[in-house]
């Protein structure tokens, strides 16, 4: 890779140790993937924030980087393992809370905006069409590439932090036009409605097509909430970073692929049946990816004046700024008066909840995947309304 004088100085350590280590990571990745140069990026989003995933050595590495590292571009964080303010309400241990705070402090010291969310595009980390970024949360990467038309690879935590410290990323993969073209056409022949059905569609495509870039037709309309659910599911089950949805994705497609597959009602039902285990529900998770204001408003109005079953734990996860406005609008109170909990900064995928529950209900196919794999829960994918009904039952 050809480096500018400034980049060579960074690699030589003239900008400090953290920047030198960051350059070492970026140049190695660039060499592996055949990048010719580094390119400027406009924002970064870093995953690997929960202490449950980092453990002590991961935290030590971040603390080492924070000794002299400072970010050069606007950078936000993925969810942490707990609500950073109200962690006690989620029954998180003192030990875990202390370690989680150390992680967030290390990022803060480097100049990272420590709003911990998987939906950075909902609160101000919003790239526009064609901008190069370095994000790591898989659902957000998929949303940025496919819905916003920005350009990012699926970064790991350390490579995203490195990009933030240098302000650049090696130019390869999804940063280049030639790697963004679809290779298979998907004709959706059934009506898809609601976050849970879009999640099921993501599972169908991910299971069947893996990482192939698809060109999807037959979705006449989709809300932001449905698209974020679809992106989360498709990225989880297929590992995809980019799809083209006709009428949604801003990227120009040169040739619509001739290889075509159809998705019909039975396919969608099959995916939902895969995520419908026979179990007693004791945990209900809404807000994966993080609930938007519109979702919080809807959930609040459904729960207003009602009581959830005290045997069932209900978490509505969201970003801190979203919760703050929900507080002002009275939505948080409406939800919490029912017995459900609004949890900011965290999510049910990365919180240390293994073994605490048995049966999970969620409107998110991604949540079902991690609920069953990582946390060993039995899972049921349901609509938001069915989740709320289950909570009240």
């Amino acid at each position: 890779m050809e480096l500018t004088n400034e980049e060579q100085d960074m690699a030589a350590g003239k900008y400090g140790k953290a920047t030198q280590k960051a350059m070492e990571i970026l140049v190695t990745l660039g060499d592996i993937y055949g990048a010719k140069r580094m390119i400027d990026i406009t924002s970064v989003q870093i995953a690997g924030v929960s202490y449950a995933n980092l453990n002590e050595p991961g935290l030590e590495w971040l603390a080492d980087m924070a000794v002299d590292g400072k970010v050069r571009v606007f950078t936000t964080l993925n969810p942490a393992g707990m609500d950073l303010e109200e962690w006690k309400k989620l029954a998180i241990s003192e030990d875990f809370a202390e370690n989680q705070h150390r992680v967030v402090e290390a990022f803060g010291k480097m100049g990272v905006i420590t709003t911990c969310s998987c939906t950075p595009y909902l609160y101000g980390n919003l790239p526009h069409y064609g901008q190069h970024i370095a994000w790591s949360e898989s659902s957000a990467v998929c949303y940025a590439n496919s819905v916003l038309g920005a350009r990012t690879n699926r970064e790991g935590g350390p490579s995203a932090l490195s990009a933030a410290l240098v302000g650049k990323t090696p130019e390869y993969g999804f940063h280049l036009d030639e790697n963004r073209q679809p290779s298979v056409k998907v004709e959706v022949k059934t009506k898809v409605e609601g976050t849970f059905q879009f999640g099921a569609l993501g599972k169908v495509l991910g299971d069947r097509l893996g990482k192939k870039i698809s060109y999807i037709t037959g979705i006449p309309k989709a809300s932001v909430e449905e698209l974020k659910s679809f992106c989360a599911s498709y990225a989880t089950y297929g590992g995809v970073a980019l799809f083209h949805m006709e009428g949604i994705t801003p990227d120009r497609v040169e040739t619509i692929p001739s290889e075509t597959i159809e998705v019909n009602e039975d396919d969608l039902k099959g995916a939902m049946a895969d995520l419908d285990e026979d179990t007693e529900i004791d945990f209900i998770s809404l807000g994966c990816p993080h609930a938007s204001l519109a979702e919080l408003e809807y959930i609040a109005k459904q729960l207003e004046g009602k009581k959830t079953n005290p045997q069932k734990e209900v978490w509505v996860t969201t970003a801190r700024p979203t919760k703050q406005i929900a507080d002002r609008m009275g939505f948080t109170k409406m939800i919490e008066d029912s017995g459900a909990k609004v949890a900011a900064d965290t999510c049910c995928v990365v919180a240390p909840i293994k073994g605490r529950f048995h049966g999970l209900a969620s409107d998110s196919a991604k949540m079902c995947y991690y609920g069953s794999g990582r946390n060993k829960f039995s899972v049921k994918l349901m609509s938001v309304d069915e989740c709320i009904e289950e909570a009240l039952k």
């Binding site: 995933n53 991961g58 699926r154 935590g157």
Partner: protein, 129 residues
């Protein structure tokens, strides 16, 4: 026998080869506290990688795997060097932050488990005795 590949992360070391034809997911597939492969059905399931020169085709799985490699390097568990056919981002980043010698673009079928390997990762050179 001398094999030449590409430097991923520098360093010189020697040790006993542990070879697999299966790719490795470090997050969930290897226990960072013991260095033992725990992925169900993996060719090396139950085998301790500690202090071995681990030889495998490529990495796979979650990017959190980089932190698993780092954690093992810091606690003295897991392999002392890595030799791959094709390195990808998870393993590369893990080796850089953990400072573990790593070389790729090596024909790993030339190496057998138990043979002695001398690695000069900076030069991309692997000697198999």
């Amino acid at each position: 026998m001398k094999l030449t590949g590409r430097r991923i992360y520098q360093g010189k070391t020697e040790g006993e080869a542990l070879v697999t034809k299966d790719s490795i997911s470090f997050y969930g597939g290897v226990d960072p506290e013991t260095g033992i492969v725990v992925e169900k059905g993996h060719e090396l399931e139950g085998v301790d990688t500690t202090d071995k020169i681990l030889v495998f085709p490529t990495g796979k799985g979650s990017t959190v795997g980089s932190y698993v490699i780092y954690q093992m390097a810091k606690t003295g568990k897991g392999p002392k060097a890595l030799i791959l056919q094709e390195c990808e981002a998870i393993v590369a980043v893990g080796c850089i932050i953990g400072e573990i010698p790593c070389v790729d673009q090596i024909d790993t079928s030339q190496i057998t488990t138990g043979s002695k390997v001398i690695i000069d990762a900076g030069a991309g050179v692997v000697e198999v005795e």
